[in-house]
């Protein structure tokens, strides 16, 4: 994948997207992910045989945005619904977009067993460290010390445990063929003209999305965790939130490849 195709995402019409505007908050990477997935569906020509399983949380309205068949699952159950579709129609491409609450708390069992059975489905899990849709409560991925509406004095690991490392957890399951942690957050770099933003992370994220679909087509289970912001519930500006991910969150949740059975991941272009 090159920067050229990312450019095409920006300017070309994506057939896998509807014309509807998204409801996502300004600065939220859910919209970015929506675009990356839809572009990958176009590039791989899979739109007409793709079934998306929508989850509960900020991603619940995805059926308004993706121009493909949808099933809207109950909270946490998207991988099980996806497995049901895939087992009956193995030729289809089935994927979920879930938040950390959906995929890693209430639905952790479904996520783990989908991986454990090597179910050929693709899970895109957005890790923004908080419950967005319900108004900013603690998630299993909330950083220690982080203030949320249910950890008003900061998350205390003594009573709430430490952050759940999903990619590490799923990556060690022998049924999982592709496990990756990517970031949807643009980062600042210094240039002769001062600070500029690089979409390096987005290119890597787009490649991860495509790989996750390719692995499913090969018959493997794919799980990609995306670091993301939630500036509204983090009570930060969009810029502050993005910096927070690039400076703090990334230390606890490093980007990287946790499993790649089929060897689909090629070294990222410098």
């Amino acid at each position: 994948m090159t920067e050229q195709s990312a450019l095409r995402v920006k300017v070309g019409k994506i057939r896998s997207l509807t014309e509807n505007p998204t409801h996502y908050c300004a600065g939220c990477e859910h919209g970015t992910l929506t675009k990356l997935i839809a572009a990958a569906m176009d590039d791989l020509s899979i739109r007409e045989k793709t079934v998306m399983i929508d989850s509960v949380g900020c991603s619940v309205l995805a059926y308004n945005y993706f121009n493909c068949d949808h099933i809207v699952a109950a909270h946490g159950r998207a991988p099980a619904v996806a497995a049901g579709v895939k087992r009956l129609r193995p030729e289809l491409i089935v994927f979920t977009v879930q938040g950390d609450g959906d995929a890693l708390s209430i639905g952790l069992s479904e996520t783990i067993y989908a991986a454990k059975r090597a179910t050929p489905i693709t899970i895109f899990a957005v890790n923004n460290g908080i419950y967005g849709m319900t108004g900013g409560q603690m998630a299993s991925t909330t950083l220690a010390g982080q203030v949320t509406t249910t950890t008003p004095y900061g998350r205390d690991p003594a009573t709430t445990g430490t952050e759940l490392d999903a990619s590490k957890l799923i990556g060690q399951i022998d049924g999982a063929a592709y496990v990756k942690r990517a970031s949807l957050v643009v980062s600042e770099i210094s240039s002769p003209r001062g600070k500029v933003y690089t979409i390096k992370n987005l290119l890597d994220a787009k490649r991860s999305v495509e790989n996750a679909f390719k692995v499913q087509a090969k018959g493997g289970f794919a799980f990609v965790e995306f670091l993301s912001t939630c500036s509204v519930n983090w009570k930060m500006s969009v810029l502050e939130a993005k910096r927070h991910v690039n400076e703090q969150v990334i230390k606890r949740f490093p980007i990287g490849l946790y499993q790649d059975t089929y060897g689909v991941e090629k070294p990222s272009p410098k």
């Binding site: 739109r47 007409e48 045989k49 793709t50 079934v51 399983i53 929508d54 619940v60 059926y63 993706f66 121009n67 493909c68 068949d69 949808h70 099933i71 809207v72 699952a73 109950a74 159950r77 099980a80 619904v81 996806a82 497995a83 049901g84 579709v85 895939k86 087992r87 009956l88 129609r89 289809l92 069992s109 479904e110 067993y113 059975r117």
Partner: protein, 356 residues
């Protein structure tokens, strides 16, 4: 198929296969597990080429949601459980009813509440017939009373499920599940249900199909649920099943379903020999409840004896059906205990004395 001697649970599994079952998802629970065991064994049997998938799930929740996904493709799908698992599956059933998904769920009812025990009860009646999960919906509820009906009700179930696009519950009990009898499978013709207008997969040349229980527009949701209940109203007129046995001249009519109706039939036979004018009314669909047929029986002077394996649940539907001014006696046994013929006979004769 020739006559075979088998358990009710096994017969139900084979009945589903003969009806065209494509997939089974389930979590083991006594006294329903023979259904899963039979279907695990039969995967790959060339006699059932359409049967493609068996998964023992990690939980009841996973099972019902796999069912939702598989049913969304238009396939013939089933799951089975018993009370505790049925409770866990209510969430999925609520979603499925709103998404209008057709499939069969089986509850081989055991004694509750909680873990209860493994004996037969009919105490899941309320949960089965009044919706069970959150929100306003119904399941079609079939109540088999014999191994033969355990075998044949999956066919009726799939027909209803696809006709109305709604989950269908087969409510058995530990007795009908474990009972062994001779059974002969009728040869059904291959099912052809129309699913192309709503099932997911292959969206080429059409608008996307969206199976969803959520509607944030209140007016649209009002209309959606209204339309589902229009469907239910039609079912209440057209798809009610019941059996009447010697009710024509009866002064006492026993109302019972499932295994209890088997005992009640013997009671009718025994007492008829003694000249007692007693009959049996057996609902075969618990929802829609055969209210109209029952109301017709509620003539002057008639006495009803409602017998159930619980503390009195169906009796509420019986009361609603026949109205006030009719004597309805109740005999309930619970905790896994089944009433004997003698116990029911005594109750009928007591009513006869009152009537006389």
């Amino acid at each position: 198929m020739q006559k075979v001697y088998m358990k009710g649970n096994e017969a139900l599994a084979y009945g589903a296969l003969e009806s065209g079952l494509n997939a089974y998802f389930g979590y083991p629970i006594t006294p329903s597990s023979e259904i899963a065991e039979t279907l695990a064994r039969e995967l790959g049997n060339r006699k059932y080429p359409q049967y493609k998938c068996f998964i023992q799930s990690a939980s009841e929740l996973e099972a019902i949601n796999m069912v939702l996904g598989a049913a969304s493709t238009g396939a013939l799908v089933m799951t089975a459980t018993s009370g505790p698992g049925f409770s866990l599956k209510q969430e999925g059933l609520s979603y499925a009813a709103c998404m209008e998904l057709p499939f069969i769920i089986v509850d081989i009812c055991r004694a509750g509440p909680g873990l209860g025990n493994l004996g037969p009860e009919q105490s899941d009646y309320f949960q089965a017939t009044k919706g069970g999960g959150h929100g306003d919906y119904r399941l079609f509820v079939l109540a088999p009373a014999s191994v033969l009906e355990m075998a044949s009700f999956p066919k009726i179930g799939f027909d209803l499920a696809f006709k109305y696009r709604n989950p269908v519950l087969i409510l058995g009990d530990a007795f009908t599940g474990q009972l062994k009898e001779d059974v002969e499978f009728p040869s059904w013709k291959k099912p052809e249900y129309e699913v192309s207008s709503w099932a997911v997969g292959d969206s080429k040349g059409r608008d996307p199909h969206i199976l969803n229980s959520m509607e944030l527009d209140y007016q649209k949701h009002y209309e959606h649920i209204g339309r589902i209940f229009e469907k239910y109203k039609k079912a209440e007129e057209k798809d009610v099943l019941y059996e009447e046995y010697m009710t024509d001249d009866a002064e006492v009519v026993i109302i019972a379903f499932g295994v209890v109706s088997r005992i009640a039939r013997s009671v009718v036979n025994n007492l008829r020999k003694k000249g007692v004018r007693v009959g049996l009314f057996r609902p075969m669909t618990l929802w829609p409840f055969p209210a109209r047929a029952l109301r017709k029986l509620a003539t002057d002077g008639i006495r009803f004896l409602d017998v159930e394996l619980n503390t009195g649940q169906m009796i509420e539907d019986v009361r609603l059906a026949v109205g006030s001014g009719v004597v309805i006696d109740f005999l309930g046994r619970w905790g896994g205990i089944v009433p004997t013929e003698r116990e029911i006979e005594r109750e009928v004769q007591r009513l006869e004395v009152v009537t006389g």
